[in-house]
């Protein structure tokens, strides 16, 4: 005789954990699997430094993706991030020779925040689709870059150079850059914000159903403007990290980074429709993208086009597996 498993009332924590975190767990597991596979295939791959390098090389993307996560959780999207990153490097590089570095840092962060807030306000008050508003923001920021200059400007400010070239040794043969610490701090603060503050919960509510959130008396306007401001701030901070990484400002920096950030967020299991997802997923998403790149450069024999094809294929395999495991996992749980 067949029986039906009735949903029993498990202790709250136990019951809640697996279903909600499943996509994130699966993503994490697949990441580890990919790393292991790389280690078997390539000599010198399975070292801790490889993972650390992924962090070092993607610290700026991580920060930008954190901001993007906030936006996507409300059901919006921010296409301007890449350009704002570029604008930040450009402003920093052009001001640094004559301005103290801490002022420059404050200034670019302010610019990023204000740009974000402005876009958020337009999106909310004039009810224009985020895609378009932030696309205009993308044109604007990129355009401002070129107005400042079309050449790449080197940064030789001592503070910036010092941050750029400091190595923090964790163990012999294992090191990270200060930017990684900054990025991780951002992740921690953002996670706390999302899960332990009203703003964070409002973000999920607005993403779940904006109309309902409004009727429930939540500050929808403030929340929406806040997430775009956060995204702008994160982009500016990401831009600073990129200036540390590159020690230059350039209008063509970070072209298409918005897509990388969106991809990272979505690979991490966050729904573009909003209301569902975790920052941990975003971190994993960034790591996955970074690891794919590492694999490609270890492979080392791919022509330019095969590089693209293989990136696409790896992404496809990853997403298919993720999707497959998550759906079967969920249906088994029911």
């Amino acid at each position: 005789m067949k029986t039906v498993a009735l949903p029993r009332r498990l202790p709250a924590g136990l019951n809640r954990m697996p279903r909600n975190y499943l996509p994130v767990l699966v993503t994490g597991a697949l990441f580890i699997a990919m790393f292991t596979a790389g280690g078997i295939r390539y000599e010198g791959f399975a070292t801790g430094q490889i993972i650390l390098n992924v962090f070092i090389d993607n610290a700026f993307l991580l920060v930008v993706a954190v901001g993007m996560t906030f936006v996507i959780l409300t059901g919006g999207i921010d296409l301007s991030v890449g350009s704002v990153v570029a604008l930040t490097t450009m402003i920093a590089a052009s001001l640094l020779p004559s301005t103290p570095s801490f002022l420059v840092i404050l200034l670019v962060l302010a610019i990023g925040g204000v740009l974000g807030a402005a876009m958020g306000a337009i999106i909310h008050y004039f009810e224009i689709q985020p895609f378009i508003v932030t696309l205009a923001g993308m044109f604007l920021a990129r355009g401002l870059c070129y107005t400042i200059g079309t050449d790449s400007i080197p940064i030789s400010d001592p503070t910036f150079t010092a941050i750029a070239q400091t190595r923090i040794d964790l163990a012999p043969e294992l090191w990270i850059s200060p930017t990684v610490l900054i990025a991780l701090a951002v992740v921690l603060v953002a996670t706390y914000t999302l899960h332990y503050t009203r703003l964070g919960r409002n973000v999920y509510a607005v993403g779940g159903n904006e109309q309902s959130a409004l009727l429930m008396g939540l500050p929808v306007a403030r929340t929406k403007i806040a997430v775009y401001t956060i995204s702008g701030l994160c982009s500016a901070l990401g831009g600073l990290l990129l200036s540390f990484y590159m020690l230059s400002g350039y209008g063509l920096h970070a072209v298409g980074m918005e897509l990388d950030a969106i991809a990272a967020v979505v690979i991490g299991g966050t729904l573009l429709t909003g209301g569902s997802g975790y920052l941990l997923g975003t971190v994993l998403g960034v790591l996955v993208l970074g690891l794919i790149q590492t694999v490609i450069s270890f492979e080392g024999t791919l022509s330019s086009w095969w590089t693209k094809i293989v990136i696409g294929l790896l992404l496809l395999v990853f997403i298919l597996l993720q999707r497959l495991i998550v759906t079967t996992g969920v249906s088994r749980e029911r």
Partner: protein, 499 residues
């Protein structure tokens, strides 16, 4: 009489093409339960939304506790002490139950949300409403009725002077309603003013002290409940007498026609059950919240996959993988959850109405426009859908009228088995009688109907037999003979079929 806490005077509100409110006066006294009455589309919800700042008013003024107010939105209204449950369940289904109750006013310490405290308090609150569910699960996990209870829990927990409940009981069963009323009485004693909307007249007479009646966006009058007999109330609401209800009250004779649907040990999210439905037979499903009625319906329609058992429709064994497959077998299903599973909000009334018909014909054989217009006109008239403009976006219709459109969507298919899950939810007395009459006519014409309703009266009135569910298990199948009364049904539900 005490000074009114809320006073609305000369309220006017016009939507493009519709005058939803026209010079309406309304006042609410502290410590009273005040019913707002009217047909579908009379303007009840609009009046509430205008009050809480969801819509701006075109004319008139609103005073709260003597001071003039014009809220810019629900947030402000809430801050001023008005707590509201809107008609459609307006909660965030992606958040947990606890969060839905507390979001925006979470218990905090140094700005940090105290999750444990929040869950504890939610569980406590829901226990008062006799709803011992896991509060950490996402709301989407629960049936619509439970969601409705959660919305109520949220509203009554907010510290408010005015509590507004727009059709909170539309999918609740008697037990839940009793719980709600208990809480409402307690709040009333504390001097809170309660505005209550419901199409269940019994409930109104049970709880309301006074009532205001609207018709077509105009004020009909303000009455003390005890002084206004039911018949008169109905007359004032719909502007004519209502005789149909009584006619239906005779018991339908049992059907002996051919078996149309035969489920054997069919199981999925419900325990395996066996059920037969004959042609022209109305089978009622009775049970409490979350007892699994909806899930049985979904299994028969192929909306969920059956894990076990067999299903025969019209003699053939079928394996329904999609709703489309069920439709091909002549099964139609009108869902209880009209917002998530019914409406396509951006489409017009006409398009929503012909959607299933068009889907069945496929993309390449459009329903001719003339045919569409005929069908739409016919059902707008038959179900008294208002406003009678087929080109209006369905999301701009009042809740009850939306429900009628969805019902019509399935009726035009002329299915062999029509599954109605809470079809009269949010529908006014007049239209409810129309729909009940329709069900009887259809079944007389040979259509089988699976009828789900939280209102046991209604189930009894229409069904040839009643299947009773408890805890997602079919526990009894009772012929609707003279011995079957709502009390017997209640008892069967409570005892789990040990009759």
């Amino acid at each position: 009489m005490a000074e009114a806490i809320l006073r609305m005077t000369g309220i006017g509100k016009e939507f493009p093409g519709v005058k939803a409110l026209d010079g309406v006066d309304f006042r609410l006294l502290p410590g009273e339960v005040h019913a707002l009455m009217g047909e579908n589309g009379a303007g009840k919800s609009t009046l509430i939304k205008v009050l809480t700042g969801v819509y701006s008013i075109d004319s008139g003024e609103i005073e709260l506790a003597g001071g003039r107010v014009a809220f810019a939105g629900p947030l402000e209204a809430q801050k001023a002490g008005i707590s509201t449950v809107y008609q459609e369940v307006n909660l965030c289904r992606n958040l947990s139950v606890a969060e839905n109750v507390f979001i925006g006013r979470e218990p905090r310490k140094f700005g940090r949300i105290r999750w444990r405290e929040m869950r504890r308090r939610t569980a406590e609150l829901l226990r008062q409403l006799d709803l011992p569910i896991d509060v950490s699960k996402p709301l989407s996990h629960y049936s619509l009725a439970i969601q409705q209870m959660v919305a109520i829990a949220r509203a009554i927990d907010i510290d408010a002077r005015v509590l507004i409940l727009d059709e909170p009981t539309s999918s609740l069963d008697a037990g839940e309603v009793a719980q709600l009323f208990r809480v409402m009485r307690r709040l009333k004693e504390q001097g809170i003013a309660i505005l209550f909307v419901s199409h269940f007249l019994d409930q109104i007479y049970e709880i309301a002290d006074r009532m205001t009646i609207l018709r077509n966006g105009r004020l009909v009058g303000e009455y003390v409940t005890a002084e206004l007999p039911q018949v008169e109330l109905v007359g004032k609401m719909i502007g004519r007498e209502l005789a149909e209800l009584e006619r239906l009250d005779e018991r339908p004779p049992a059907r002996t026609s051919d078996t149309l649907v035969e489920a054997t040990e069919l199981g999925g999210k419900v325990a395996p059950f066996s059920l037969t439905i004959r042609e022209g037979e109305v089978v009622g499903l009775a049970g409490l919240l979350g007892s699994g009625r909806t899930e049985i319906a979904r299994l028969l329609f192929g909306a969920d996959h059956a894990g076990t058992g067999t299903l025969r429709i019209g003699g053939d064994q079928v394996n329904l993988r999609t709703p489309r497959a069920a439709m091909a077998r002549g099964v139609a299903f009108c869902s209880e959850n009209r917002r998530e599973e019914g409406l396509v909000p951006e489409l017009t009334v006409r398009e929503n109405l012909i959607l299933a018909l068009q889907a069945r014909r496929g993309w390449s054989r459009p329903v001719p426009r003339k045919k569409q217009d005929e069908l739409v006109a016919k059902y707008i008239k038959a179900l008294n859908i208002r406003p009678d403009n087929p080109e209006m976006l369905i999301r701009n219709l009042s809740g009850g009228n939306q429900q009628k459109v969805l019902l019509a969507r399935w009726l035009i298919l002329e299915p062999r088995l029509l599954i109605l899950d809470e079809p009269t939810r949010g529908i006014d007395v007049g239209a409810k009688a129309e729909i009940q009459k329709l069900v009887v006519e259809l079944s007389d014409g040979g259509m089988a109907v699976l009828f789900i309703s939280a209102e046991l009266d209604e189930v009894l009135r229409l069904s040839h037999k009643v299947a009773v569910l408890r805890d997602r298990r079919l526990v009894a199948e009772l012929p609707n003979d003279d011995t079957l009364t709502t009390d017997v049904l209640m008892e069967t539900i409570a005892s789990g079929g040990a009759r």
